[in-house]
Subunit: 205 residues, 2 copies
Amino acid sequence: MLDIAILGLLMERDHHGYELRVQLRDRLGLSSNVSFGSIYPALARLERHGSVETVIAADGRLTALSTGSLSGERATLRSRRSAPGLGRRGRKVYRITERGRQEFARLLADPSTVDNGRNFSLRMALARYLTPALRVTLLDRRRGALLERLAELRAGTQVSDLDSYARAVMEHGARAIEFEIAWVDELLAHERINDEQDSYAGDAG
Amino acid sequence: MLDIAILGLLMERDHHGYELRVQLRDRLGLSSNVSFGSIYPALARLERHGSVETVIAADGRLTALSTGSLSGERATLRSRRSAPGLGRRGRKVYRITERGRQEFARLLADPSTVDNGRNFSLRMALARYLTPALRVTLLDRRRGALLERLAELRAGTQVSDLDSYARAVMEHGARAIEFEIAWVDELLAHERINDEQDSYAGDAG
DNA sequence: GGTCGATTATATCACGTCGATATATCGACG
DNA sequence: CGTCGATATATCGACGTGATATAATCGACC
Protein backbone atom coordinates (compact mmCIF):
# COMPACT_ATOMS: atom_id res chain seq x y z
CA MET A 1 0.00 0.00 0.00
CA LEU A 2 2.58 2.50 1.12
CA ASP A 3 4.96 1.39 -1.61
CA ILE A 4 2.75 2.66 -4.38
CA ALA A 5 1.98 5.86 -2.50
CA ILE A 6 5.62 6.62 -1.89
CA LEU A 7 6.62 5.78 -5.45
CA GLY A 8 3.80 8.00 -6.68
CA LEU A 9 5.11 10.95 -4.71
CA LEU A 10 8.67 10.29 -5.82
CA MET A 11 7.52 10.29 -9.46
CA GLU A 12 7.05 14.00 -9.06
CA ARG A 13 10.16 14.86 -7.11
CA ASP A 14 12.61 13.63 -4.49
CA HIS A 15 11.52 13.53 -0.88
CA HIS A 16 12.86 12.64 2.52
CA GLY A 17 11.00 10.50 5.01
CA TYR A 18 9.47 13.15 7.17
CA GLU A 19 8.20 15.14 4.24
CA LEU A 20 6.64 12.06 2.72
CA ARG A 21 4.32 11.83 5.67
CA VAL A 22 2.98 15.31 5.10
CA GLN A 23 2.56 14.72 1.39
CA LEU A 24 0.89 11.38 1.93
CA ARG A 25 -1.78 13.22 3.86
CA ASP A 26 -2.05 16.40 1.80
CA ARG A 27 -1.67 15.10 -1.73
CA LEU A 28 -2.83 11.51 -1.56
CA GLY A 29 -5.43 11.80 1.17
CA LEU A 30 -4.06 9.02 3.33
CA SER A 31 -5.82 9.28 6.65
CA SER A 32 -4.12 11.60 9.03
CA ASN A 33 -0.48 10.98 9.49
CA VAL A 34 0.78 7.64 8.41
CA SER A 35 3.09 6.20 11.05
CA PHE A 36 6.85 6.40 10.68
CA GLY A 37 6.80 2.79 11.65
CA SER A 38 5.31 2.28 8.21
CA ILE A 39 7.24 4.83 6.22
CA TYR A 40 10.81 3.93 7.13
CA PRO A 41 10.43 0.20 6.71
CA ALA A 42 8.72 0.89 3.40
CA LEU A 43 11.62 3.04 2.24
CA ALA A 44 14.13 0.40 3.34
CA ARG A 45 12.09 -2.19 1.46
CA LEU A 46 11.97 -0.11 -1.69
CA GLU A 47 15.67 0.59 -1.52
CA ARG A 48 16.46 -3.09 -1.02
CA HIS A 49 14.32 -3.82 -4.02
CA GLY A 50 16.13 -1.23 -6.11
CA SER A 51 13.07 0.94 -6.65
CA VAL A 52 14.50 3.96 -4.90
CA GLU A 53 17.97 5.22 -4.08
CA THR A 54 19.18 7.60 -1.42
CA VAL A 55 20.74 10.93 -2.15
CA ILE A 56 22.21 12.09 1.10
CA ALA A 57 21.84 15.78 1.56
CA ALA A 58 25.24 17.13 2.42
CA ASP A 59 24.07 20.43 3.81
CA GLY A 60 21.47 21.20 6.37
CA ARG A 61 18.97 23.23 4.46
CA LEU A 62 17.41 23.28 1.08
CA THR A 63 18.47 19.98 -0.45
CA ALA A 64 16.15 18.69 -3.10
CA LEU A 65 13.03 20.19 -1.67
CA SER A 66 12.58 23.21 -3.85
CA THR A 67 14.31 22.26 -7.03
CA GLY A 68 12.98 18.84 -7.72
CA SER A 69 14.97 16.51 -9.88
CA LEU A 70 17.56 19.01 -10.93
CA SER A 71 20.38 18.65 -8.48
CA GLY A 72 23.56 20.06 -9.85
CA GLU A 73 24.09 22.15 -6.81
CA ARG A 74 27.22 21.40 -4.90
CA ALA A 75 26.23 23.19 -1.82
CA THR A 76 28.03 25.10 0.82
CA LEU A 77 29.27 22.61 3.35
CA ARG A 78 28.79 23.99 6.77
CA SER A 79 31.33 22.70 9.18
CA ARG A 80 29.89 19.98 11.31
CA ARG A 81 31.66 18.68 14.28
CA SER A 82 30.23 15.20 14.56
CA ALA A 83 29.28 12.35 12.31
CA PRO A 84 29.45 12.34 8.54
CA GLY A 85 28.30 15.61 7.12
CA LEU A 86 24.62 15.25 7.59
CA GLY A 87 22.80 18.44 8.23
CA ARG A 88 20.01 18.79 10.68
CA ARG A 89 19.84 15.28 11.97
CA GLY A 90 20.99 13.26 8.99
CA ARG A 91 18.46 13.77 6.32
CA LYS A 92 18.15 11.09 3.70
CA VAL A 93 16.57 12.14 0.44
CA TYR A 94 15.05 9.42 -1.68
CA ARG A 95 14.86 9.33 -5.46
CA ILE A 96 12.95 6.93 -7.65
CA THR A 97 14.96 4.74 -10.04
CA GLU A 98 14.04 3.46 -13.46
CA ARG A 99 13.18 0.14 -11.89
CA GLY A 100 11.00 2.03 -9.45
CA ARG A 101 9.12 3.74 -12.28
CA GLN A 102 8.38 0.41 -13.87
CA GLU A 103 7.31 -1.07 -10.55
CA PHE A 104 5.07 1.93 -9.96
CA ALA A 105 3.36 1.54 -13.34
CA ARG A 106 2.84 -2.14 -12.65
CA LEU A 107 1.37 -1.60 -9.18
CA LEU A 108 -0.84 1.27 -10.23
CA ALA A 109 -2.42 -0.58 -13.11
CA ASP A 110 -3.09 -3.72 -11.07
CA PRO A 111 -6.81 -3.71 -10.33
CA SER A 112 -6.73 -6.76 -8.05
CA THR A 113 -6.90 -5.04 -4.70
CA VAL A 114 -9.47 -2.39 -5.35
CA ASP A 115 -12.02 -3.87 -2.98
CA ASN A 116 -10.35 -1.87 -0.27
CA GLY A 117 -11.42 1.77 -0.15
CA ARG A 118 -8.00 3.06 0.70
CA ASN A 119 -6.33 1.27 -2.15
CA PHE A 120 -8.86 2.65 -4.55
CA SER A 121 -8.65 6.25 -3.37
CA LEU A 122 -4.91 6.04 -3.50
CA ARG A 123 -4.91 4.81 -7.08
CA MET A 124 -7.45 7.44 -8.06
CA ALA A 125 -5.29 10.17 -6.56
CA LEU A 126 -2.50 8.93 -8.84
CA ALA A 127 -4.76 8.29 -11.81
CA ARG A 128 -3.10 10.88 -14.01
CA TYR A 129 -0.30 8.34 -14.45
CA LEU A 130 -2.75 5.85 -15.93
CA THR A 131 -4.06 5.57 -19.46
CA PRO A 132 -7.77 6.43 -19.91
CA ALA A 133 -8.55 2.78 -20.54
CA LEU A 134 -6.90 1.66 -17.31
CA ARG A 135 -8.67 4.38 -15.40
CA VAL A 136 -12.01 3.07 -16.60
CA THR A 137 -11.01 -0.48 -15.69
CA LEU A 138 -10.11 0.65 -12.20
CA LEU A 139 -13.39 2.52 -11.77
CA ASP A 140 -15.43 -0.39 -13.08
CA ARG A 141 -13.76 -2.78 -10.68
CA ARG A 142 -14.41 -0.49 -7.77
CA ARG A 143 -18.01 -0.07 -8.81
CA GLY A 144 -18.43 -3.83 -8.93
CA ALA A 145 -16.87 -4.28 -5.51
CA LEU A 146 -19.16 -1.64 -4.04
CA LEU A 147 -22.27 -3.19 -5.53
CA GLU A 148 -21.22 -6.54 -4.20
CA ARG A 149 -20.66 -5.18 -0.73
CA LEU A 150 -24.02 -3.43 -0.84
CA ALA A 151 -25.83 -6.60 -1.84
CA GLU A 152 -24.02 -8.48 0.89
CA LEU A 153 -25.04 -5.87 3.42
CA ARG A 154 -28.67 -6.00 2.36
CA ALA A 155 -28.64 -9.80 2.27
CA GLY A 156 -27.21 -10.11 5.78
CA THR A 157 -29.29 -10.52 8.90
CA GLN A 158 -32.68 -9.00 8.30
CA VAL A 159 -33.02 -5.59 9.76
CA SER A 160 -35.75 -6.55 12.21
CA ASP A 161 -33.22 -8.76 13.93
CA LEU A 162 -31.06 -5.86 15.01
CA ASP A 163 -31.50 -3.32 17.76
CA SER A 164 -31.87 0.29 16.73
CA TYR A 165 -28.17 1.14 17.10
CA ALA A 166 -26.85 -1.76 15.08
CA ARG A 167 -29.54 -1.02 12.53
CA ALA A 168 -28.47 2.62 12.32
CA VAL A 169 -24.88 1.54 11.72
CA MET A 170 -25.94 -0.86 8.97
CA GLU A 171 -28.12 1.71 7.29
CA HIS A 172 -25.43 4.32 7.41
CA GLY A 173 -23.03 1.79 5.98
CA ALA A 174 -25.35 1.18 3.06
CA ARG A 175 -25.86 4.89 2.46
CA ALA A 176 -22.11 5.45 2.56
CA ILE A 177 -21.61 2.83 -0.10
CA GLU A 178 -24.29 4.39 -2.28
CA PHE A 179 -22.58 7.70 -1.78
CA GLU A 180 -19.33 6.28 -3.06
CA ILE A 181 -21.02 4.57 -6.00
CA ALA A 182 -22.41 7.94 -7.00
CA TRP A 183 -18.90 9.35 -6.88
CA VAL A 184 -17.50 6.55 -8.99
CA ASP A 185 -20.28 7.12 -11.51
CA GLU A 186 -19.38 10.77 -11.61
CA LEU A 187 -15.76 9.91 -12.31
CA LEU A 188 -16.80 7.46 -15.00
CA ALA A 189 -18.94 10.12 -16.64
CA HIS A 190 -15.93 12.39 -16.61
CA GLU A 191 -13.85 9.76 -18.33
CA ARG A 192 -16.48 9.43 -21.03
CA ILE A 193 -16.52 13.17 -21.61
CA ASN A 194 -12.77 13.16 -22.01
CA ASP A 195 -13.11 10.30 -24.46
CA GLU A 196 -15.51 12.28 -26.57
CA GLN A 197 -13.26 15.27 -26.56
CA ASP A 198 -10.43 13.01 -27.66
CA SER A 199 -12.46 11.56 -30.47
CA TYR A 200 -13.38 15.00 -31.74
CA ALA A 201 -9.85 16.24 -31.53
CA GLY A 202 -7.98 13.17 -32.60
CA ASP A 203 -10.29 11.10 -34.72
CA ALA A 204 -12.37 12.75 -37.37
CA GLY A 205 -14.80 9.97 -37.96
CA MET B 1 -10.47 -3.92 17.96
CA LEU B 2 -11.64 -7.45 17.42
CA ASP B 3 -11.67 -8.12 21.14
CA ILE B 4 -14.50 -5.74 21.79
CA ALA B 5 -16.40 -6.94 18.73
CA ILE B 6 -16.12 -10.58 19.75
CA LEU B 7 -17.03 -9.86 23.35
CA GLY B 8 -20.00 -7.85 22.10
CA LEU B 9 -21.28 -10.80 20.11
CA LEU B 10 -20.68 -13.20 22.99
CA MET B 11 -22.70 -10.95 25.29
CA GLU B 12 -25.74 -12.09 23.36
CA ARG B 13 -24.94 -15.77 23.02
CA ASP B 14 -22.15 -18.31 22.58
CA HIS B 15 -20.44 -18.60 19.24
CA HIS B 16 -17.74 -20.62 17.56
CA GLY B 17 -14.99 -19.06 15.47
CA TYR B 18 -16.41 -19.52 12.04
CA GLU B 19 -19.79 -18.19 13.02
CA LEU B 20 -18.21 -15.13 14.60
CA ARG B 21 -16.92 -14.09 11.22
CA VAL B 22 -20.40 -14.07 9.74
CA GLN B 23 -21.85 -12.21 12.69
CA LEU B 24 -19.04 -9.68 12.67
CA ARG B 25 -20.09 -8.78 9.17
CA ASP B 26 -23.86 -9.06 9.50
CA ARG B 27 -24.47 -7.64 12.94
CA LEU B 28 -21.55 -5.33 13.57
CA GLY B 29 -20.87 -4.17 10.03
CA LEU B 30 -17.19 -5.06 10.03
CA SER B 31 -16.04 -4.82 6.46
CA SER B 32 -16.56 -8.02 4.59
CA ASN B 33 -15.14 -11.06 6.22
CA VAL B 34 -12.61 -10.44 8.88
CA SER B 35 -9.66 -12.76 8.44
CA PHE B 36 -9.35 -15.93 10.50
CA GLY B 37 -5.81 -14.83 11.02
CA SER B 38 -7.38 -12.16 13.22
CA ILE B 39 -10.22 -14.10 14.79
CA TYR B 40 -8.41 -17.14 16.13
CA PRO B 41 -5.51 -15.24 17.68
CA ALA B 42 -8.07 -12.88 19.19
CA LEU B 43 -9.98 -15.79 20.73
CA ALA B 44 -6.76 -17.30 22.07
CA ARG B 45 -5.88 -13.91 23.53
CA LEU B 46 -9.25 -13.51 25.18
CA GLU B 47 -9.11 -16.99 26.59
CA ARG B 48 -5.61 -16.44 27.94
CA HIS B 49 -6.88 -13.30 29.54
CA GLY B 50 -9.80 -15.10 31.10
CA SER B 51 -12.44 -13.12 29.25
CA VAL B 52 -13.87 -16.12 27.44
CA GLU B 53 -13.91 -19.85 28.00
CA THR B 54 -14.36 -22.74 25.60
CA VAL B 55 -17.22 -25.18 25.65
CA ILE B 56 -16.10 -27.92 23.33
CA ALA B 57 -18.81 -29.55 21.32
CA ALA B 58 -17.47 -33.06 21.67
CA ASP B 59 -19.78 -34.59 19.15
CA GLY B 60 -19.68 -33.14 15.70
CA ARG B 61 -23.42 -33.33 15.29
CA LEU B 62 -26.02 -30.90 16.40
CA THR B 63 -25.06 -30.77 20.06
CA ALA B 64 -27.62 -28.42 21.44
CA LEU B 65 -24.68 -27.50 23.62
CA SER B 66 -26.93 -26.62 26.42
CA THR B 67 -26.35 -22.92 26.61
CA GLY B 68 -28.31 -20.76 24.36
CA SER B 69 -30.04 -18.93 27.14
CA LEU B 70 -31.70 -16.98 24.38
CA SER B 71 -31.46 -19.50 21.59
CA GLY B 72 -32.43 -22.42 23.74
CA GLU B 73 -36.10 -22.49 23.03
CA ARG B 74 -35.76 -21.85 19.38
CA ALA B 75 -32.80 -24.01 18.59
CA THR B 76 -34.55 -27.28 19.22
CA LEU B 77 -34.46 -28.92 15.89
CA ARG B 78 -34.54 -27.60 12.41
CA SER B 79 -35.02 -29.73 9.38
CA ARG B 80 -31.71 -31.44 8.96
CA ARG B 81 -31.41 -31.48 5.22
CA SER B 82 -30.07 -28.39 3.59
CA ALA B 83 -30.29 -26.08 6.56
CA PRO B 84 -27.02 -24.27 6.98
CA GLY B 85 -25.37 -23.56 10.23
CA LEU B 86 -24.31 -26.64 12.10
CA GLY B 87 -20.78 -27.72 11.76
CA ARG B 88 -18.70 -30.76 11.54
CA ARG B 89 -15.01 -30.80 12.36
CA GLY B 90 -14.46 -30.47 16.10
CA ARG B 91 -16.01 -27.21 16.97
CA LYS B 92 -14.91 -24.95 19.75
CA VAL B 93 -17.69 -22.87 21.19
CA TYR B 94 -16.75 -19.78 23.14
CA ARG B 95 -18.61 -18.29 26.08
CA ILE B 96 -18.01 -14.96 27.76
CA THR B 97 -17.03 -15.00 31.42
CA GLU B 98 -17.84 -12.52 34.15
CA ARG B 99 -14.37 -11.06 33.72
CA GLY B 100 -15.13 -10.77 30.01
CA ARG B 101 -18.31 -8.83 30.70
CA GLN B 102 -16.41 -6.38 32.84
CA GLU B 103 -13.69 -6.05 30.24
CA PHE B 104 -16.31 -5.48 27.57
CA ALA B 105 -17.96 -2.68 29.54
CA ARG B 106 -14.58 -1.08 30.11
CA LEU B 107 -13.54 -1.24 26.46
CA LEU B 108 -16.87 -0.07 25.13
CA ALA B 109 -17.03 3.01 27.32
CA ASP B 110 -13.46 4.07 26.55
CA PRO B 111 -13.74 6.99 24.13
CA SER B 112 -10.01 7.27 23.52
CA THR B 113 -9.78 5.59 20.14
CA VAL B 114 -12.77 6.99 18.36
CA ASP B 115 -10.74 8.88 15.78
CA ASN B 116 -10.82 5.73 13.72
CA GLY B 117 -14.03 5.21 11.77
CA ARG B 118 -14.13 1.49 12.35
CA ASN B 119 -13.75 1.76 16.06
CA PHE B 120 -16.55 4.26 16.18
CA SER B 121 -18.97 2.27 14.03
CA LEU B 122 -18.24 -0.80 16.07
CA ARG B 123 -18.97 0.96 19.33
CA MET B 124 -22.13 2.46 17.90
CA ALA B 125 -23.33 -0.95 16.78
CA LEU B 126 -22.95 -2.05 20.39
CA ALA B 127 -24.28 1.18 21.86
CA ARG B 128 -27.29 -0.45 23.45
CA TYR B 129 -24.89 -1.71 26.11
CA LEU B 130 -23.93 1.88 26.98
CA THR B 131 -25.69 4.36 29.20
CA PRO B 132 -27.26 7.35 27.42
CA ALA B 133 -24.61 9.64 28.85
CA LEU B 134 -21.77 7.51 27.54
CA ARG B 135 -23.42 7.29 24.15
CA VAL B 136 -23.47 11.08 23.93
CA THR B 137 -19.83 11.25 25.01
CA LEU B 138 -18.90 8.82 22.29
CA LEU B 139 -20.82 10.74 19.66
CA ASP B 140 -19.34 14.06 20.73
CA ARG B 141 -15.85 12.68 20.54
CA ARG B 142 -16.43 11.33 17.10
CA ARG B 143 -17.89 14.61 15.97
CA GLY B 144 -14.83 16.44 17.22
CA ALA B 145 -12.48 14.05 15.48
CA LEU B 146 -14.36 14.45 12.20
CA LEU B 147 -14.32 18.24 12.40
CA GLU B 148 -10.62 18.14 13.10
CA ARG B 149 -9.94 15.88 10.15
CA LEU B 150 -12.05 18.11 7.92
CA ALA B 151 -10.15 21.23 8.96
CA GLU B 152 -6.89 19.40 8.39
CA LEU B 153 -8.03 18.36 4.95
CA ARG B 154 -9.05 21.87 4.01
CA ALA B 155 -5.87 23.32 5.45
CA GLY B 156 -3.61 20.98 3.50
CA THR B 157 -2.03 21.74 0.15
CA GLN B 158 -4.20 24.25 -1.61
CA VAL B 159 -6.42 22.71 -4.18
CA SER B 160 -4.88 24.50 -7.14
CA ASP B 161 -1.71 22.55 -6.45
CA LEU B 162 -3.30 19.23 -7.28
CA ASP B 163 -4.17 17.63 -10.57
CA SER B 164 -7.82 16.94 -11.24
CA TYR B 165 -7.73 13.36 -9.97
CA ALA B 166 -6.02 14.08 -6.69
CA ARG B 167 -8.38 17.02 -6.29
CA ALA B 168 -11.40 14.80 -6.90
CA VAL B 169 -10.18 12.39 -4.23
CA MET B 170 -9.68 15.20 -1.73
CA GLU B 171 -13.06 16.70 -2.42
CA HIS B 172 -14.77 13.37 -2.10
CA GLY B 173 -12.91 12.80 1.15
CA ALA B 174 -14.24 16.08 2.50
CA ARG B 175 -17.79 15.32 1.39
CA ALA B 176 -17.59 11.88 2.95
CA ILE B 177 -16.60 13.43 6.26
CA GLU B 178 -19.47 15.91 6.08
CA PHE B 179 -21.74 13.00 5.33
CA GLU B 180 -20.64 11.25 8.47
CA ILE B 181 -20.94 14.40 10.56
CA ALA B 182 -24.53 14.65 9.42
CA TRP B 183 -25.08 11.09 10.56
CA VAL B 184 -23.53 11.73 13.95
CA ASP B 185 -25.74 14.78 14.34
CA GLU B 186 -28.75 12.66 13.52
CA LEU B 187 -27.76 10.15 16.18
CA LEU B 188 -27.22 12.93 18.70
CA ALA B 189 -30.65 14.32 17.93
CA HIS B 190 -32.07 10.88 18.55
CA GLU B 191 -30.36 10.71 21.91
CA ARG B 192 -31.92 14.02 22.86
CA ILE B 193 -35.38 12.83 21.84
CA ASN B 194 -34.97 9.74 23.96
CA ASP B 195 -33.94 11.95 26.85
CA GLU B 196 -37.13 13.93 26.52
CA GLN B 197 -39.23 10.81 26.33
CA ASP B 198 -37.51 9.56 29.43
CA SER B 199 -38.29 12.70 31.30
CA TYR B 200 -41.95 12.49 30.29
CA ALA B 201 -42.39 8.78 30.77
CA GLY B 202 -39.61 8.21 33.22
CA ASP B 203 -41.74 7.30 36.20
CA ALA B 204 -44.56 5.64 34.34
CA GLY B 205 -42.84 2.25 34.49
C1' DG C 1 22.25 35.00 25.89
C1' DG C 2 20.34 31.16 27.75
C1' DT C 3 16.82 27.89 28.18
C1' DC C 4 12.40 25.95 26.67
C1' DG C 5 9.15 24.06 23.76
C1' DA C 6 7.86 23.22 18.98
C1' DT C 7 9.20 21.43 14.81
C1' DT C 8 11.95 18.71 11.83
C1' DA C 9 13.89 14.26 11.39
C1' DT C 10 15.22 9.16 11.64
C1' DA C 11 14.65 4.86 13.71
C1' DT C 12 12.87 0.70 16.32
C1' DC C 13 9.56 -2.02 19.12
C1' DA C 14 5.56 -4.92 20.21
C1' DC C 15 1.30 -5.84 18.61
C1' DG C 16 -2.77 -6.51 15.67
C1' DT C 17 -4.71 -7.44 11.19
C1' DC C 18 -4.61 -9.30 6.63
C1' DG C 19 -4.26 -12.54 2.87
C1' DA C 20 -2.78 -16.87 1.71
C1' DT C 21 -2.52 -21.40 2.71
C1' DA C 22 -3.08 -26.10 4.93
C1' DT C 23 -6.07 -29.30 6.77
C1' DA C 24 -10.37 -31.70 7.65
C1' DT C 25 -15.48 -32.95 7.46
C1' DC C 26 -19.71 -33.23 5.46
C1' DG C 27 -23.73 -32.83 1.87
C1' DA C 28 -24.93 -32.59 -2.85
C1' DC C 29 -24.47 -33.75 -7.48
C1' DG C 30 -23.37 -36.56 -11.08
C1' DC D 1 -17.22 -43.10 -6.31
C1' DG D 2 -15.07 -38.74 -6.78
C1' DT D 3 -15.01 -34.14 -6.29
C1' DC D 4 -16.92 -29.73 -5.48
C1' DG D 5 -18.44 -26.27 -2.28
C1' DA D 6 -19.61 -24.98 2.30
C1' DT D 7 -18.32 -25.40 7.03
C1' DA D 8 -14.60 -25.21 10.32
C1' DT D 9 -9.95 -24.51 12.73
C1' DA D 10 -5.40 -23.08 12.52
C1' DT D 11 -0.81 -20.96 11.19
C1' DC D 12 2.43 -18.01 8.40
C1' DG D 13 4.76 -14.04 6.60
C1' DA D 14 4.09 -9.40 5.47
C1' DC D 15 2.55 -5.00 6.64
C1' DG D 16 0.60 -0.88 9.27
C1' DT D 17 0.06 1.35 13.82
C1' DG D 18 1.08 3.71 18.04
C1' DA D 19 4.46 4.36 21.31
C1' DT D 20 8.86 5.52 22.29
C1' DA D 21 13.87 6.98 21.86
C1' DT D 22 17.05 10.06 20.04
C1' DA D 23 18.69 14.32 18.23
C1' DA D 24 19.36 18.75 15.94
C1' DT D 25 17.50 23.21 14.89
C1' DC D 26 14.37 27.29 15.35
C1' DG D 27 11.75 30.86 17.39
C1' DA D 28 10.08 32.93 21.52
C1' DC D 29 10.30 34.67 25.84
C1' DC D 30 12.63 36.53 29.63
